[in-house]
């Protein structure tokens, strides 16, 4: 097993051990999405109109909660320093870390989003489209999140600051994600927003780990 596979499995195990963080994220996701119709009314047309923004905003909040601790415990127990000191490229290691965090924190959201979609009276193939949108959006969000978490490593209570950094950067994802869901419910062609989301995902995966690695290096030394 090479170091990348080892790191991947180790991070998965660690995040399973800290399952309360992950659970809080998922609960947040469900909570926001389920409380919205209770407050704002629940007739079908209205639900169809708001599902896009609601589902993306709640996935942003959920990933914010579960990703706050992506680097901090590792910084405290010294394993992050070992990663920086290792001979392997830190960007590559960070990429693996992000990937494993995406699996443990965001893949459940993709599954749960099908539940939410059917609660919002979305039927048939559209549920799959909603899930695909959440999948594409969270892969980008995870990268932006990890950058924000790495930048705020030196801050004692990073929550509010991370939110301030995260929201403007993730705005295009939220907009195009909700557009994709809206189009799919209206039965229109969704390839435009999907191409955009996929492009943003590739961009964030190619630049995100590099920037995150750089930010980690700053806060380590």
């Amino acid at each position: 097993m090479n170091i990348y596979q080892q790191l991947f499995l180790r991070d998965l195990k660690v995040s399973m051990k800290r399952w309360s963080d992950l659970l809080t994220g998922i609960i947040m996701f469900i909570l926001v999405a389920f409380i919205f119709p209770l407050i704002a009314g629940s007739d079908q047309d209205f639900m169809h109109r708001i599902i896009g923004p609601v589902i993306l905003l709640s996935s942003l909040l959920a990933s914010l909660i579960s990703m706050q601790n992506i680097f901090k415990p590792d910084l405290n127990n010294g394993s992050l320093e070992q990663l920086v000191l290792s001979t392997h490229s830190l960007s590559g290691l960070v990429f693996i870390k992000i990937l494993s965090y995406w699996i443990s924190s965001s893949l459940p959201l993709v599954v749960v989003s099908s539940l939410i979609a059917s609660a919002y009276y979305v039927t048939g193939i559209d549920i799959a489209k909603v899930m695909l949108t959440v999948l594409l959006a969270t892969t980008t969000l995870v990268n932006i999140n990890s950058l924000a978490a790495a930048l705020t490593l030196g801050v004692r209570y990073p929550g509010a600051l991370m939110t301030l950094i995260l929201f403007p950067l993730s705005l295009p994802i939220l907009m195009f994600g909700s557009k994709a869901i809206e189009y799919s419910i209206l039965g229109m062609d969704i390839s435009g927003p999907f191409y955009f989301l996929t492009g943003m995902m590739l961009l964030s995966f190619s630049l995100g780990p590099i920037a995150t690695a750089f930010a980690i290096r700053i806060s380590i030394d």
Partner: protein, 247 residues
Amino acid sequence: MNLKQIYKYGSPPNYFKLSLKAENWFLIPGILLIIVGCLGGLFIAPPDYQMGHAFRIIYFHVPSAYLSMSAYAYMAGAALVGIVWRSNVAFSVAKSIAPFGASLTFLALVTGMLWGKPMWGTAWVWDARLTSQFILLLLYLGYILLHLSIREQRKADLAASILALTGVINLPIIHYSVVWWNTLHQASTISKLSSPSITGDMLWPLLVMIFGYGFFFWGVICRVVASEILKREKRSKWAKQYIKELQ
């Protein structure tokens, strides 16, 4: 000017002296231009045939909007130089620009609201320019707060600079994704260089104001950068000597 001379100003004492010297070269023309622009804009320019006298807020709105955006570019440029050469001077420039950029953005938003209320009947619309201006304000605030909340100067500089550069990559994406909404904001008045949709009487005070804002901005920045450098270098020999000479 060859590269060696530029490198010379990478050292804090040299840059300190340069910015103190340059301060008045920017500040005085800036103030003069703003006075001339105000006179021209508020008294000489004819009232607009549709908007009447209310259009005169353009002379404050457009320059601050221009400058708020270009200030972000300056800040990000300084941040990039700082990251590449680890230059303390460049970091001080970036740090000093941030609060001014934020306040210019705020000013652009406020004057826009004041203008929008009588003209469109509403102070705020969800259109591309307003929204991206608001996002720009958030980016500035993120930079300032991140810099404030990290104790160690060097780490704060580097982390905030990365944030500034991320913002540069993201700003065009944000802007063009917001543009998809139909836009209520009137089209830019002087971007069409060949035939601007504004008469000469109205145009020249605007240009004067834009340049005045720019000069004034750099004058203030020179002074703030100088004090920032002095604060950072307060333990060095030249700074102590300079302070002693002042007393």
